[in-house]
């Protein structure tokens, strides 16, 4: 029985624990540091980069992608993907603008209606994915077309101009508190709330379980379909809210709003450390990923490097992020295995 005694007493597990946690945490911290580095390096070359204006612009630009990234994180964590977010954003923005222009609805209701448009789209996505059991990549790709098409049909060559937008609504897009745009504050609140919820509630932990091992999730009695449906619903809702915020920011909209956002959002989420095959990643990481990509874009502009380099750099960065993720997870697994080996040989 000595072996048993060894096992219970000799091994102090704190060592592996903290090491692993450092490795895992490093992702968010690493991205935040990278953002700071990019900002500082650029600011040295061009002091205008840390002007109030420039920072506001940076935050507002990142905010929308970050907001959509929050919903996308929920979906990707469950081993699914939502490619329809850009189209949903565009449709929601136009519908809200249309209602302002022709029906003069009150400013606050714009946000509610925008969100509801998203909820409807998310519910449809979620229904097809969970009830029809169709791969989400295909469903949301189809919905990307369909919603963009519906958007175009509704718009039919019209556009909403700034005059049609109520002042109170547009204020969300341009006003700020202590130099931080309202838009960024709203998104930060969403990130904080959802980020906290993702850690602290059973239902949100179910999402991670589903993505980590779907079969085991079923054995554990997790209502998989209901949870995945909710993830799509929330992703849709946030994309819809994003539409209203997009309108508030740009105060004009035609049928091209949010076009191509889906790939930027997925890129931001992946750069932010959310595993594309589910099970791990945080909302905060995704939001930081959005800020990083946007910061780099702006930095290229400020450094007077041709804006033509934007996409190429973003693409290279995305590839680097995926590769880094892989490397990190291999490292973590190896660390954990060797920690385990030590423990078993006692």
């Amino acid at each position: 029985m000595t072996a048993v005694a060894d096992r219970t007493e000799n091994k102090e597990p704190r060592g592996t624990d903290s090491m692993v946690m450092t490795l895992l945490r490093a992702r968010e911290v690493g991205i935040a540091l990278l953002i700071v580095v990019v900002v500082l390096v650029t600011a040295v070359n061009n002091s205008h980069f840390i002007d109030r204006n420039s920072i506001e612009q940076l935050l507002s630009g990142a905010a929308l992608i970050a907001l959509l990234g929050v919903g996308e994180t929920l979906v990707i964590v469950t081993r699914n993907v939502d490619l329809s977010v850009g189209s949903v954003l565009g449709l929601s923005a136009y519908i809200v603008g249309d209602l302002f222009k022709y029906h003069h609805i009150p400013a606050w209701s714009g946000f509610v209606i925008g969100t509801l448009v998203g909820v409807a789209a998310g519910a449809l996505n979620g229904f097809i994915v969970t009830v029809m059991r169709v791969p989400s990549l295909v469903v949301t790709l189809g919905m990307l077309y369909v919603i963009r098409g519906i958007d175009g049909v509704i718009v039919s060559g019209d556009r909403i101009d700034p005059e049609a937008i109520p002042g109170g609504f547009a204020a969300v897009g341009y006003k700020d508190i202590f130099g931080i745009p309202w838009l960024a504050i709203i998104v930060a609140v969403v990130v904080a709330v959802v980020g906290y919820a993702m850690r602290s509630f059973r239902a949100s932990r179910d999402l991670y379980a589903i993505g980590s091992n779907p079969d085991a999730a079923a054995l554990a009695g997790i209502p998989i379909e209901r949870r995945v449906f909710s993830a799509f619903l929330i992703s849709g809702a946030l994309a819809g809210l994003g539409g209203a915020l997009f309108l508030a920011l740009h105060t004009q909209i035609d049928n091209s709003g949010g076009m191509g956002y889906e790939l930027s959002v997925v890129a931001a989420v992946v750069v932010g450390g959310v595993a594309i095959f589910g099970g791990s990643g945080t909302v905060v990481g995704a939001a930081l990923g959005a800020v990083l990509l946007n910061t780099i874009n702006q930095a290229l502009v400020a450094s007077r490097i041709s804006a033509f380099w934007n996409q190429a750099v973003a693409g290279a960065l995305l590839l680097a992020a995926i590769a880094f993720d892989r490397w990190l997870s291999l490292r973590v697994t190896k660390t954990l295995k060797s920690a385990e080996g030590a423990h078993r040989e006692l």
Binding site: G149, F277, A312, R326
Partner: protein, 359 residues
């Protein structure tokens, strides 16, 4: 404990439901391709009735011009999807290939080296995808979203906002742009259609009648079993991505000739159209299932529907809706029966325990 337990109570045994078998047989009979032929006939009738110009021979030519380069990309993407991966970077590679031609042409290269360089770019880009997916085991959807952005970005770096040939540039050789813009003499077939047909035959034979094709099917259905049967899973995947890159570059050259000019944004967003064509052709997104014949039918259906809708002035937006709905139908219909059965089953299972709990 009591020994009477040793005698089990036997219940009258209900035979297992035969639904599973029957469904499979039904599915084998009503192949997806059969459905596609019916849809194609429907589309042709619709076009002939609704559009006065649909039956003109020129429709075939414009169909080739509009669909040829897309269709060429659909073939290698079919192979990639057969193995359970996906390549979303094809349209960006098409753009990068055109940009390479334009950039080198602008800098005084003659046309053949330009083409060769574009194909090499395709090869390198495809190899990059293949390396990251097959060698490093990264998820292809993430990798090719990355290279989608990267390739388009590089195209932008090469050309900036200029269109080649611009002011002061030589025009592309007339006879080459004729190949792009004219039909094969004496027919209504565009040259790109000819290339597609030849490639489709080659791809069809490879997929359905060679060890390589069978290996791709096995990889798509059960990658581990394929590996245990001695199939070089990663090597095959690598080369499929390379082929995808090269043929996308080739499609980019064709598009450049067709337009007689090139800008960095050529073909933006077409990756989704290509994927839609492949999936509508009956290729399973999970890999292992599908035929080249189905993809060819899908090309013709989507292309001719587009022609008909354009001819009767249906807006591009409505055409988008049609593309999306086609894509959704292609995945929902095969699952519809299963879904209904599952829903019924769930209602049944939910009802019984509830009734018993309350009792």
């Amino acid at each position: 404990m009591s020994s009477d337990l040793a005698v089990p109570m036997t219940k009258p045994q209900t035979p297992p439901p035969a639904g599973g078998r029957k469904r499979r047989l039904w599915r084998e009979g009503a192949r997806w391709e059969t459905g596609l032929v019916v849809v194609l006939i429907g589309v042709l009738i619709f076009g002939s009735v609704k559009s006065p110009t649909f039956t003109d021979p020129s429709t075939i030519f414009f169909f080739g011009i509009n669909s040829g380069y897309l269709a060429i990309m659909a073939l290698p993407v079919t192979f990639v999807v057969m193995t359970g991966e996906i390549d979303l970077s094809v349209a960006s590679m098409l753009g990068l290939s055109g940009a390479t031609v334009g950039f080198l042409w602008h800098h005084g290269w003659s046309i053949w080296p330009c083409f060769l360089a574009a194909l090499v770019v395709g090869l390198v880009g495809g190899a990059l995808n293949g390396l990251l997916v097959a060698r490093f085991g990264l998820p292809s959807i993430a990798v090719t979203i990355g290279t989608l952005t990267l390739f388009r970005g590089l195209a932008e770096v090469l050309l900036g906002s200029q269109t080649i040939p611009g002011l002061g540039d030589r025009e592309f050789p007339q006879w080459l742009t004729n190949i792009g813009a004219n039909s094969i003499p004496g027919t209504q077939f565009s040259w790109s259609m000819l290339f597609f047909v030849v490639l489709a035959v080659i791809f069809g034979v490879i997929l359905h009648a060679t060890p390589l094709g069978r290996s791709m099917v096995a990889i798509g259905l059960q990658p581990e079993a394929a590996q245990f049967a001695g199939i070089r899973v990663n090597r095959i995947k690598f080369w499929l991505f390379v082929v995808s890159g090269v043929l996308s570059a080739f499609a980019g050259i064709l598009l450049t000739l067709q337009n007689a000019s090139v800008s960095y944004s050529a073909g933006t967003g077409l990756e989704l159209n290509v994927v839609a064509i492949v999936l509508f052709g009956g290729v399973s997104i999970f890999g292992g299932r599908g035929t080249i014949f189905g993809v060819v039918l899908s090309v013709v259906i989507v292309g001719s529907l587009q022609m008909a809708l354009t001819q009767i002035n249906v807006s591009a937006d409505k055409q988008n809706i049609v593309t999306g709905v086609l894509l959704l139908i292609s995945v929902i219909v095969p699952n519809g029966g299963d879904a209904l059965r599952r829903i019924r089953e769930r209602i049944r299972r939910r009802r019984t325990p509830a009734a018993l709990k309350s009792a």
